[in-house]
Symmetry: D2
Subunit: 305 residues, 4 copies
């Protein structure tokens, strides 16, 4: 299993004003990412507002994605819901609909321990024949996948990889060291702003939400890193850091949750990729004043003239 | 709307060893609670392991509950899932299946603000014609329903009540004071161990998970409080505090999440109310040694001879 | 040791505009509290801005307090600093200067465990022959004195009492139950707003910062509780809850730390007890607009006509 | 002001069994660091157990350090205590005793806001004529120095640098970008395990506690980074990551606070640099079994044969 690597954006889900999925825009997003050279796509992640979508919509999104992607790059699918058997149900749908791998978080709402989290992944692995990627996102699930949990699951073959959105890069580094001999396991960061660093540590891929706005930037960053051209990687990363500042524009009028994806959607609308910046309920969308500020940031980063 | 008050236990959901719902046991739980004089039942709450159940199972549980309860006491139903429109879907099912009111938490997994939480409740209220009860449970959803949020929603008629499982009894008292003139709003605590105090503050009801084990105790406590017999209420509460210590028996082998409900199920099995102490995956059930300790606590509290 | 009980306010430390202690005002504060019938005074607590005062000022404050109090009520003294041996040094000074007991928190700045906290109290007890009161204040020291820690220290005689400012009244109740046979141990709450409840649980005393503003109110509340007149206690508590709302007036311009004590000082200035509402650096004092709002609250509570 | 840069270890304070400072060992520590090529020393930091030392001991330590260092490298001194005026007192002593700069945290114990933190640094700067370095250490003071706070203080000249021990490397990167034009400001990380990354971002220095054990390793890492030899830097960093694992050896018997510095002391004793691994009270020192494990880690890292 070496096909998962490189820049794998968590794909934004464009919405119509009536909150249904805007599939024409969605198709454009996928083409925009693949055209730019992204190495995979991760649909139905946190950035995709997965948690707002019901079973039927999730199935439709996966099937639509599979049709558009059509094998050009791997299709990784988030199967994110609070508890084991509900995740298993999503994973079966995802596999049937064309997922190459599925992404699973720790349980949430319910309070669990690392032992129960280990069992959570094992139960899912036993129930569905599809590769599992562990998703470490304490800001959403409020528990960390500890180093030992990730390493144990990877060594016993329960997971094939990790998406680390914990922000704890020291811990991530230890996972890389512990699993250095496991060439089939891939470890990816969810960071937008320290990607050069994490690649220098040896990370196998990067899953930045901001790549929806500027996929070329992250592909260039990846290519610089592959070439060992760290100074160029740093310059590209620093430009992307300035672009990332869009995520604070609407605070505190909106929540931190809606401010980030809401800014990505607003920028993508400005770039002509999607039709609206509508966010799923009860999130607030960015307003006109905030959109002007996002567009200034987009322009300053050189994405439009 | 004055029918919601008193002791309203969050009903444990008994499971078969294959993790399906054990309906014969479930019927016994409901009869056990109603026979003891409980004033309502709250099904599909956190204690009911609601978050582990899919849509179909939830519908079956509500319908079964409605049939067994048969109007003898109000039937309050948790419609707990991460985001607005998913909650609306559950609320429609609950109403159709016989719920007298539904219980709604703040959104979870996604990060929201108090403004977005206000909108969350308003959207649900507008979409479904069923009374809403707000459920403040930061240990599960990781955000508090602030005093001003609860008071605003109650004053504008978006909610008819509150179940407060936050442990912040000072804040709860301010909500009681702020809403003292709103005679149609009821405010209930989720505490097991300071029920006498919260009733003395003027709370309208109590939703203790431990009432699954000892409903008579909480009904006596309620009756003492109604009679202004605070010394007797305190003595009853202190006995129940000792009984409540069962929730720490299996720590840290199990998580805090499974230790509490797992102990209640174990005690109910010992009392002959339910058949197994099986917990939904990936939670761990209490083992034989832990069951012995729970049974000793049950015996010490005078529930068995 | 049964002399510690009742209403024991944490005494505000009035400051001159140049940040030195305003002793004439301080004398008036102590007389104001003793005249109102308070059963003890707790100087150099958090409310006293103890953490801002150096060794010499602390010694002066204790000596001044001892002289003014002159044995009329017990004098309890906070010896609050980050680590064991620094606390021991303060405790020796406090004993020499006339303290009847000293109040000790868990270590802070450094990260410790419950085992190390146990040793912290034991080392202090062995080094200084003065009764120790444990002070549970996680909002300042960022670790909770667990029930087992408090109970162990009380049973082995290392502490004679607890001041619980943790807000975890359920845990406090278990400490009361566990130590019910230890008649020489007293357990006090730091709450301002659930005092009636905590007294009904059996607490031996109350240490409310707001008693600096309205000592008569808390003494009446205590007397009602002693008489078992819980309805009158509740009414008094509810009036004090409205008075307590002064602590939110200056937020977010000031921090939560300065908003509370700053409001108490502002109210005491309005009542003619102290000369300024100056706060120690870097805290912000309440400004004129905020003072007007505090005064309105004071008037609404019936303290001035 | 360009003299602060490079590897600046926070110097461990060796103790005698009676808890006094072991100055002969302390002299050896300083020589060990300077001999290895460290570019400065930071005494009386968290790693130095500063918070356990009283005023007199702190003065003695600074004076001893100044005498041993004797201008060979800059001497940076922590002046760490909870509140503004107490820090000012320490800073005056430090300046008089020979400090080239002093290191100041946010206030602690008391709860403050970013506005009050800004004032805290300004008051200190106005009171003492010695360069200030801001120390961001939320694990100890429980509040973060926000990016805007650090940048504001640096731009107005209130601080000359930052030691960032927050672990939030993304935020640190933004501070580097914001202050890129301020050539006189230096930004250092407190990390032990992502030093290569932070240097690649452009950090001016590194303050790793582990450098007490292996100063040569961090100097080599710094030199590789200066030469742009990032692959060699990474290899050195990975070796140091394995060495750093000593900090978890004594958990959970000791606290996290004592486990880290306790392990450094244990390793330094094994290397013959200091005489005991004694920790200040109430911290627990590592025991014999734990010392064996630390020594194995030291040996595996190639520090002894």
């Amino acid at each position: 299993m070496t096909k998962f690597k490189g820049v794998v954006p968590p794909v934004v889900t464009p919405l119509n004003p009536d909150l249904t999925v805007d599939y024409p825009s969605y198709t454009r997003v996928l083409e925009h990412l693949i055209d730019a050279g992204c190495h995979g796509v991760f649909v139905l992640g946190s950035t995709s507002e997965v948690i707002f979508h019901d079973e039927k919509t999730r199935r439709d999104i996966i099937e639509h994605s599979a049709k558009v992607v059509n094998g050009r790059v791997p299709l990784i699918v988030g199967v994110i819901d609070p508890t084991t058997d509900r995740v298993i149900a999503h994973a079966k749908v995802a596999k049937a609909a064309g997922a190459d791998a599925v992404v699973v978080t720790a349980p949430f709402y319910t309070v669990t321990s690392q032992s129960e989290i280990l069992d959570h992944f094992r139960y899912i692995r036993d129930a569905v024949d599809v590769p599992l990627v562990a998703y470490d996102i304490p800001v959403c699930v409020h528990i960390k996948l500890q180093r030992q949990t990730v390493v144990t699951l990877a060594r016993e073959g329960a997971i094939i990889g990790l998406k680390d959105s914990s922000g704890d890069d020291g811990n991530f580094r230890y996972a890389l060291l512990d699993l250095a001999e496991h060439k089939d396991v891939f470890l990816m960061t969810g960071s937008e702003i320290v990607v050069d660093n994490v690649l220098q540590m040896g990370a196998h891929g990067v899953v930045p939400g901001l790549a929806n706005v500027d996929p070329h930037g992250y592909v260039r960053l990846w290519d610089h890193a592959q070439a060992g051209n760290w100074e160029a990687a740093r310059k590209e990363q620093e430009r992307l850091c300035r672009l990332f500042e869009m995520v604070w524009v609407s605070l505190p009028r909106t929540s931190a949750g809606s401010a980030g994806v809401g800014a990505f959607k607003t920028a993508m609308r400005a770039l002509g990729v999607i039709a609206t910046n509508t966010m799923a309920r009860p999130q607030r969308s960015l307003n006109a004043d905030e959109a002007v500020k996002v567009e200034e940031i987009v322009r300053a980063a050189g994405l439009v003239s």
